[in-house]
Subunit: 431 residues, 2 copies
Amino acid sequence: MSERTPVVVVIGAGFAGLKVVLGLRKAPVRIILVDKHNYHLFQPLLYQVATAALSPADIAYPIRRIFRKQANVAVAMGDVQVIDLAKKEFGNAETRVPFDYLVVAVGSTHSYFGHEEWHTMAPGLKTIDDATEIRKRVLLAFEEAEYEADEEARRAKLTFVVVGGGPTGVEMAGALREIAANDIQRDFRSIDTKTSRILLVQGGDRLLPSFPQKLSDRAKADLEAMGVEVRLNARVTKVDDEGIWIGDERLRANNVIWAAGVQAPPLLKTLCVPLDKSGRVIVNPDCSVPGNPNVFVIGDAAAITDPATNQPVPGLAPAAMQMGRFVAKIIRSEVGSPTPPPRPAFHYVDKGTMATIGTRRAVADIKGFRFGGLFAWVLWSIIHLTFLISFRNKLWVMLNWMYQYFTMGREARLITGKAELKLHTVRVEQP
Amino acid sequence: MSERTPVVVVIGAGFAGLKVVLGLRKAPVRIILVDKHNYHLFQPLLYQVATAALSPADIAYPIRRIFRKQANVAVAMGDVQVIDLAKKEFGNAETRVPFDYLVVAVGSTHSYFGHEEWHTMAPGLKTIDDATEIRKRVLLAFEEAEYEADEEARRAKLTFVVVGGGPTGVEMAGALREIAANDIQRDFRSIDTKTSRILLVQGGDRLLPSFPQKLSDRAKADLEAMGVEVRLNARVTKVDDEGIWIGDERLRANNVIWAAGVQAPPLLKTLCVPLDKSGRVIVNPDCSVPGNPNVFVIGDAAAITDPATNQPVPGLAPAAMQMGRFVAKIIRSEVGSPTPPPRPAFHYVDKGTMATIGTRRAVADIKGFRFGGLFAWVLWSIIHLTFLISFRNKLWVMLNWMYQYFTMGREARLITGKAELKLHTVRVEQP
């Protein structure tokens, strides 16, 4: 056993990163956990912040608070820009820090398929700031529509397009429809918010492509029953200030939300190892980086095939958590051991996938048992509460959901940040 | 009775504006309520958002939701830039809307005493965005201090200066001291947050100048017992990126919060009537604008002397609410009446004033009964819950306070918005 305590650096405090650090709580290592933010974010519920159902603090929890009692962890807030595998250092332009083990768990963002300029017109949903920005745009759209005299312009303000038919897109579209059709209708005088169009645009031939076909069909049917227009096999060819092109079709819409594609952060390029077309690191079966056994990439940033099923491991929270625990176990088995055991291969245990479609509706696939409706929604709610970090967040989300279930009220409806309000919205018509 | 329903325009949905609209719910008028934001903000608790105790949605409530069932109100979100008293219109560069009655309830902001350039270094606390900005700065200060190698620079990051010894300043200083001394101390490894300096700088010779002397002394003693440095008769002569000058004394401090002075919004200048030195409209005893009986200015934007006491009416929430109800009553008595009764003069009923100093400590002056400590704090809590708009906000604030009372946890500790994180904060020292 070396006399120096090994330093384990974990970049990213998402699901994968947290599990690594928690898994090393009794290990004889010093851990440095670095994240761009000071909080762990429970991303599966981010769409509920974007749709004014929850507050940011309900689904985010201070990282330092999580590890208050774990003495072997130092938490640092900062933006890591470089990883130097040869020197075993990470850092940025000004500073470098050495590591013995490195775990890169930096997640992924959406991909605009080479059209990064669409970002300002069609924001994605990956951070708290994204969520409050989308919330602002959605709420402003109704405020502006209320006093918009021009019929066509009003229709454009009340048209919401969600691009991407994965879980986030499905959940956003369902929640937007609920806002328009139920929650705020009685708060407006000039417009009927129920007439809002919500479109869900999916490039492939079905929604929720990682789910069984039956549930994809169920999700589409449920969304259509709620009033969402689902467009399959539809490619977005352009986005601008006035709307969106789907193939050759022009659609005037002031609100486009992007939930399509996967792209890993540019930090991974500094590893100088092969990446897949989404920019993810193609890792070894033990999640390590080729040629660098003490450097791991896990979670959404990793491209890995499960040897048991020969399927790619999906970019989902349960897979990230499993990879985190897996890597923690490898490190535990190796530190201080003169003869570390051979490393196993990562195997993803699919305990089930689910997506919610609206209050009281969800679809679930639990070990081949496939179902939808109210029961799936109750199960979805319980599972999400279970996986939220901290008692406080569990309690607050549960109370919010109970309140909403009984009142149908979405009351985190705050337009914050620079509002860029069109001046004409002050025009008050005399009915 | 004229055949046209009179139009009452209310600008501002603060305490004063809301009371006008609520007071006219049965009146035969059409009301237009215009506000820059889409929510009513409960400003007395804004410092709790700035200090990570509450979420924005806990103290803000959608204006449309408040008036959902009041059919004679149209709510508009927009920035009013001009009031034309001669034409009886309000609006902006593009549009004008006529009114029969106008109630201006636009509140006030802090005053930098002619040094507007201090604003970016020393933000005030009047809006939700101000509060999340201050929250970000305070939390970032601790994050940066944790990894700051230079002793003097670290001291500057851990020095917080609150300028202004009114209720907001006293409450902010107390809450900052609680954060540093109790709530987050165990979350840091390199710094002892308890060593943070919190200074409260007051220009006059006592804190809480609108309170009796005895309570001013009590507040000062309580703050000092908590560890806040109180500076009386202290004038801020300069603020820059590195700190603040108090008279000739240079104080390195990276965090300055401004809670001093009163300044009414520039909109009031467009009335072209006499303003006091803070830019407030000097109104008639009935709160109307001289020469314009159907135009009222109420709340913090009005300069008015109580004829009974010959004292200026203070810029406090209870006074604003009383003015709102008073003006609603005048309008009710006049619309549709061929012979309106003569107007009364506004009289402020002082039901008491209170300020909290920290959890379990407050000072109160209720009709001459002056007291502090735990009982004052319990009373302060109950009264603030009572005056919060909406059942949801009362419930959420109460639950948050109960949770904090038992856990001492401030868990809305989110650094949101552009963080402008210094890169060196990623430096992780090897202890």
